[in-house]
């Protein structure tokens, strides 16, 4: 893809509608199935029927990003300059520096953009700004940088307003739907992580006086659910600010409910229940802490601070809880 585009015919035109295959692919990516190679070729593309004065939009070569963008460009005539971000979305790539000043300068040059358009203006997604030094781009290429809106579905409104983004368009949100779409990516690794734990339970059952049963599995599944699904979904409604705390709150409530429903508070079950009350909320808390990476409003300094406090507690409670649970099963405390 390193050829220069001297005539318009050699520039690939992209449709603005998505096929079923595109949409299926998007879900596979979200569920973590073969998401590594979901890329488009970097380079210059045309949308609609652009001419030498048409705007140039810059984006990443992650196919999901590319699809969302082109879907929102219906009825527009423009150029798309796709940077090589190694198949990572704009925001994360900007943080890593692959959606960066050097790559943009290189791409402008390698596609011969100054021969394709007469103007010298680029529209970048606002979330690309952490990787781009706008003044350096102008100094090195002669192109000036305008930052567009955060979300692709605001692009039409942004252009209609004379390339003006409102404060709302400039702000990153984190709605219920945003969070819902992210939960499979939290759940899948948590379930994968559980396979060895299930193995330990099965092996323990060969020797234990009181084998693990349905109620234990329910309590365990409950912790996964509160940490990686319920906490993300109810995020702003759970009291507190730290994620580990939020996961602990939901985890405790979940474990208490399940224990209550399965005779967990009966005298003969108390020791094992105490172990579960340490172990499962700690696990839920850990899963919730991991959700910080998926959110749009956590700072590295904040996450570090919360980890320094929470991780020792999580590990301590988890270890003691696990020892009690295993011990009570081996020694047969509390038969049901």
């Amino acid at each position: 893809m390193e050829n220069t585009y001297s005539d318009k015919e050699s520039i690939a035109n992209v449709p603005t509608s998505l096929t079923t295959c595109d949409m299926l692919g998007a879900w596979k990516v979200r569920l973590g199935i073969g998401r590594m190679n979901y890329t488009v070729n970097p380079g210059l593309y045309s949308v609609g029927n652009p001419h030498r004065e048409s705007p140039v939009l810059v984006s990443a070569n992650y196919k999901l990003t590319f699809d969302i963008l082109r879907k929102n460009l219906a009825d527009l005539d423009c150029w798309l300059l796709i940077l090589d971000t190694k198949g990572v979305n704009v925001w994360c790539a900007a943080g890593k520096g692959t959606f960066g000043t050097d790559e943009l300068v290189h791409r402008i040059d390698s596609v011969g953009l100054s021969k394709v358009v007469n103007h010298r203006n680029l529209i970048l997604p606002q979330l690309g700004a952490p990787g781009i030094n706008a003044h350096e781009i102008t100094a090195r290429t002669g192109f000036s940088v305008t930052y567009g809106p955060v979300r692709a579905d605001d692009i039409q409104a942004y252009i209609a307003e004379g390339y003006n983004a409102t404060r709302e368009m400039r702000r990153v949100k984190f709605t219920f739907t945003d969070r819902l779409v992210l939960t499979p990516m939290e759940l899948v690794p948590a379930v994968k992580m559980s396979l060895p734990i299930m193995g330990v339970m099965l092996i323990t059952n060969q020797f234990a006086k009181r084998p693990f049963g349905k109620s234990d599995i329910a309590a365990y599944a409950g912790a996964i659910l509160t940490g990686s699904v319920i906490t993300p979904l109810l995020l702003p409604y759970i009291p507190g600010k730290a994620f580990a705390w939020k996961g602990l709150v939901t985890g405790l409530m979940g474990t208490i409910c399940i224990l209550g429903a399965s005779k967990g508070f009966k005298k003969e079950n108390r020791l094992m229940s105490a172990g579960q009350l340490l172990l499962f909320p700690a696990f839920s808390s850990f899963l919730a802490l991991n959700f910080t990476g998926a959110t749009t409003y956590t700072s590295p300094s904040g996450v570090k601070k919360e980890m320094k406090r929470a991780l020792p507690l999580i590990i301590g409670a988890g270890a003691v809880g696990a020892a009690i649970v295993l011990g009570s099963h081996f020694l047969g405390k509390g038969k049901k």
Partner: protein
Amino acid sequence: MAMTVKKQPSDRQHRYLKNVTTLTFDSEKCTGCGLCETVCPHSVFELNEGKLYLTNKDACIECGACALNCPTKALFVNPGTGCASAFIFGWLTDDEPACDCSGGGFC
């Protein structure tokens, strides 16, 4: 100040830890160009009559966009990603924190 900013629902919803950001501002160097206000995804800045105010500093996520784009280096921030698993991975492998994210909502 006569200016009242209407509270959006998102203003109230997500709040993270206070007083942690590494963001600093040197008003001496600021020309009031407003680029930081444009690039900030959490409305940390407000430009009023050519003067810049950090009205929402606790919302800063240390993405680094403002500092990188400021033409006069009036802003400083230690940039990074607020991702716990990236830190854990970084500590375990003695490497830079690496984030393996693939959310696609933002273009």
